[in-house]
């Protein structure tokens, strides 16, 4: 009796997959893989941005301390208080300014700002990619 049903049921119509379904699936997986990479990259740049903001605080403190210790501001203020002397002794004045320039502090601040802007640029770009792909996927 059971065999009769099994004999019957092998006649069931089989639904064949539409042509190209496997290619669509592989394309979706490829898209998903790219999306995953973008998300991971965004997360990395997010961490880098946070690190850059965190680094900006000590960099600024270093710059502030250095600028006070080297007397750069005092030399620079001569440009406003005694322009004539600065012009007459311009070579000595330029050397004094260069020597007192807080190189480490400025470099640290600029590096932090540069890394922050660089990260933000990629985060914005990746977010745009994710939004665009989500819209395409929903369409």
């Amino acid at each position: 009796m059971q065999e009769r049903y099994e004999q019957l049921l092998v006649h069931m119509d089989r639904h064949g997959p539409p042509a190209g379904l496997l290619d669509i699936i592989m394309a979706r997986i490829g898209e998903e893989r790219r999306r995953r990479k973008v998300v991971i990259r965004s997360a990395c740049f997010g961490i880098l941005s946070v690190a850059a903001v965190a680094a900006l605080v000590p960099a600024w403190q270093e710059f502030y301390t250095e600028i006070g210790q080297t007397g750069f501001l005092k030399f620079a203020s001569l440009l406003f208080s005694d322009v004539g002397a600065a012009v007459v002794y311009w070579k000595d004045f330029a050397v004094a300014l260069a020597e007192s320039f807080p190189v480490v502090g400025v470099a640290a601040v600029l590096a932090s700002v540069f890394v922050l802007l660089f990260s933000l640029r990629f985060i914005v770009r990746d977010i745009n990619i994710i939004i665009r792909r989500s819209k395409i996927a929903r369409a």
Binding site: M1, R4, Y5, E6, Q7, L8, L9, V10, H11, M12, D13, R14, H15, G16, P17, P18, L21, L22, I24, I25, M26, R28, I29, E32
Partner: protein, 190 residues
């Protein structure tokens, strides 16, 4: 290379993919896209939706393939994912189907009132229009029953494998199979 891949068992293809061989994934999916699509068509009863669900199933398989338990059969695993995806779709679209026939214990008052399956008339098996009639009759069944029939007769799974794929006790699977046959007989004889 491709013929070598085709000779590999499903689980070996999974291992090959995990080891970094991208082509093994396509070979594996090529093997299952038809059976899974057919199973989903039977389960949800809609070709158009089956295509979307099939895509979701394979993407889900790809996402979880690294977590695939080596002690399980790939075949039962992929059908388990297909069943869950189909179930979610039915829950969203047609919640009434669930309460229509079966209770939580898998019992069905309608099926229990039917007589035992009798031998099928010879003329039915010789009917040239049999495939169409069968498809119609199967489409009338409860999705859970259709799933059992599809796995058993379209995909040649054993009851034990069906039990694993559907995460249901073996007795429930056998009971659904019997009830599905009972109901089919009623539909085909009517």
């Amino acid at each position: 290379m491709s013929s070598d891949m085709n000779a590999l068992a499903d689980e070996q293809l999974v291992e090959a993919y995990r080891a970094g061989d991208e082509t093994s994934l396509r070979t594996l999916f090529e093997r299952y896209v038809g059976p899974v699509y057919n199973f989903i068509c039977r389960y949800v009863g809609s070709d158009g939706d089956a295509e979307d669900i099939t895509q979701d199933v394979f993407v889900s398989v790809w996402k979880n393939i690294k977590r695939f338990d080596r002690n399980r059969k790939f075949k039962t695993w992929i059908f388990a994912i297909a069943k869950n995806a189909s179930l979610n779709w039915i829950k969203k679209k047609k919640p009434i189907l669930f309460s229509a026939f079966e209770n939580a214990q898998g019992e069905n008052v309608l099926a229990d009132t039917l007589s035992d399956p009798a031998p099928l008339p010879d003329e039915l098996l010789a009917d040239v229009d049999l495939a169409r009639k069968l498809s119609w009759a199967v489409a009338q069944l409860n999705p859970n029953w259709r799933a059992v029939l599809s796995l058993r007769y379209d995909n040649q799974l054993t009851f034990q494998e069906i039990s694993e794929a559907l995460s249901e006790p073996l007795d429930t699977v056998k009971s659904r199979h019997r009830r599905a046959l009972l109901h089919l007989k009623e539909l085909l004889s009517g």
